[in-house]
Symmetry: C2
Subunit: 405 residues, 2 copies
């Protein structure tokens, strides 16, 4: 199951980035499970990573190598997360990076590893190393769609976004891929995102841009988007476009940022649309909060309520469950009578109870839609936040009760 | 589905308490849906209520009438929660109390109303009022089992606990009933508990006892036990036992408290065992925390992880999901290597990874059990907490996707 069509875009080539995909038999035979990004020398690279205290060995190593500067390759495997693997896990991650560095002729610190899949099992290092030559042979600047497929785990479809903008008469391209899956609730079904551009941006500014874009996108789907042991999102700038370097405070940077945010939003929302067992794509909008945190607290409480989620799955306009979730979000001195809740264009709650104009028929009509916005106006301030989530279906239970078997 | 046998005990009569049950057709025909507790004059009464900001009209009214002192009747209906019903809801609750007060010849402030069932629909006042004479006619000191049935909603079985203890040569009895249901996650499937004793206790001490007992029982099942719009738990002391009055600091009070805690624990755990779709009864024990709050944060994060819950449903010893949940509980400076996690007697995690002695066979053997303890030792302090929860099954989705239909 998945919501919407979710077709891949026509990816624009990013000058300075080549992608190689191989089938290395990590968990399944004959499945694309190894992806290598090759970045041209001089590229800048920024990353955001999971905040889970148990972050996986590849996350620890990628952070370290990123801090050392000058990444030249991203090495991504599916089928095994190399998480909860203790000292052995780090040894294995290092061994894979070492193997790629020798084949590619770069320092091993120039390799950033990423793993996704089952937790707590030893990384099949031999399979990965044996797969590397094929991945390097396959390196091609137009292999984005292949790479989008190569990073999938329980995803039902590949996810990508791509754009070209004109900056001062020169083309700047941005392309990205993402994977998710178990995104109905925060969990360890790793979320990965890789976005590259041929824009020319220094590393410090690139990291700021990535943090801003990730916060508005990957960190707004389900609870906080940072709960897997392996979540990682990378932004690469090759600087090969002929557009001038993007400088802080420039109109060009502003224009680029708008396009970049759109790419991130598309990649993040694609993960929700393909959430495990998802039959609905739900935007939870909270307005009139006293602070951003307050708006997020309410939004997440509603988005994570299993009763709200099962009602969405059942297409049941059970507004009482939404109201109850708002009520337990922990807001001090909440004025019930000030709260207004809408499902798309239909007002369901007003003055502490059901809106007088509400009818089950109108509620039902909205709930039958595949994409629904729950808008909650708190009427106590000026802050607003939006997050995206899905319903909770039988399929979700089936997928997660059978994942390892 | 439910875990364990869950048979009702032989209820000990509480001198001074009579119970009357009627079928008033509130939502279903021919179903016990109205329960009246009659308390002898001079009884003391304590209550704890939901912390949900949207608390239902009957909760607001019960709190108010309890504060006014001298409750004589509890009036409980199922089939309709009278929540999210605005001003009309309060009017309806008052009307029901007024009707009972006239029939019983007491002040209407002496009535405490409790409602459970669907949210946001008008309370069927006429059905309730028409059912009152039958409930009053049925009043009987030995109708506890009937009352336990009368407060059920989606519960699959009635829940009760009862004990007699000897205090200074005199019998003191405690009997209680509870209802829950949708307790896999915090929600609005109201939790109700009614416990009565013939002990002689003043109201202030009784309220302290209730708060203490509820915190260790009803507030330790799922997230915080206080999230429904209607959750209520009452403790009544009739003072009809010949045992001396229970005074603060006495050995007799200590002895009574032990028994009372056991009753509360049994009633609360019975709710978990009958959780919607429950196939497992899971104790989550967190030890070695720096504070109680920290222990609870870890316990709740594990207990609410849908991935942990679906793995429990699948009898899958997926220890990686437990580890990932601990890692995202938000503890600062968590030392991964100090953490030990056991499933019953089998150690699964040690030194940041799978315990070297762990085998899938041993993990599987534990996971096949109906009752499982997940013990997490953080190794950073002296605080410990235990909470109880269930798995997440297809049945849970089915029940909650079809509740209103």
């Amino acid at each position: 199951m998945a919501v919407g069509k979710g077709e891949l875009p026509n990816f624009h080539v990013i000058d300075g980035v080549r992608l190689g995909v191989a089938k290395s038999g990590i968990k399944y035979q004959d499945r694309k499970d190894l992806v290598v990004f090759e970045l041209i020398e001089g590229s800048t690279c920024a990353g955001v990573f999971t905040k889970n205290a148990f972050c996986a060995a590849p996350v620890v190593l990628s952070k370290k190598n990123l801090a050392a500067g000058a990444p030249r390759y991203l090495l991504i495997n599916t089928g095994n997360a190399n998480a909860g693997t203790g000292a052995q896990g780090m040894k294995d991650a290092l061994e894979c990076c070492q193997a790629l560095s020798e084949l590619a002729g770069v320092d091993s610190h120039a390799i950033l590893p990423f793993s996704t899949g089952v937790i707590g099992e030893k990384l099949p290092v031999t399979a990965i190393i044996d797969g590397l030559p094929a991945a390097l042979t396959a390196l091609d600047e137009s292999a984005w769609a292949d790479a989008a497929e190569g990073i999938m785990t329980t995803d039902t479809r590949p996810k990508g976004a791509s754009k070209v903008i004109d900056i001062e008469g020169h083309q700047v391209s941005i392309s990205g891929i993402s994977k998710g899956a178990g995104m109905i609730m925060p969990n360890m079904a790793t979320m990965l995102g890789f976005v590259a551009t041929d824009a020319n941006i220094d590393q410090v500014l690139l990291q700021e841009l990535l943090t801003e874009c990730a916060n508005l996108s990957f960190n707004r789907i389900t609870i906080d988007g940072d709960t897997s042991t392996n979540d990682s999102c990378m932004l690469i700038a090759t600087g090969k476009s002929e557009a001038p370097k993007l400088e802080r405070g420039s109109a060009a940077l502003e224009q680029f940022t708008v396009a970049l945010k759109a790419i991130f939003m598309e990649l993040a929302q694609a993960i929700v649309r393909d959430g495990e067992g998802a039959t609905k794509f739900v935007s939870v909008v909270v307005e009139g909060a006293q602070s951003q945190q307050e708006a997020l607290d309410v939004a997440y409480t509603v988005a994570h309520s299993p009763l709200v989620k099962t009602a969405l799955f059942a297409c049941d306009p059970n507004w009482g469950r939404i109201l109850a979730a708002v009520g337990r979000a922990g807001l001090a001195e909440l004025d019930l009578d000030a709260i207004v809740i809408d499902l798309d264009e239909v007002c369901i709650v007003r003055d502490g109870g059901r809106d007088p104009d509400y009818t089950e028929e109108r509620g039902q009509e909205v709930m039958n839609r595949e994409e629904i916005t729950i808008r909650i106006q708190l009427g106590r301030g000026d802050s607003a936040e939006t997050i995206w989530t899905t319903d909770l279906s039988h399929e979700y239970v089936t997928i997660n009760a059978e994942y390892r078997t």
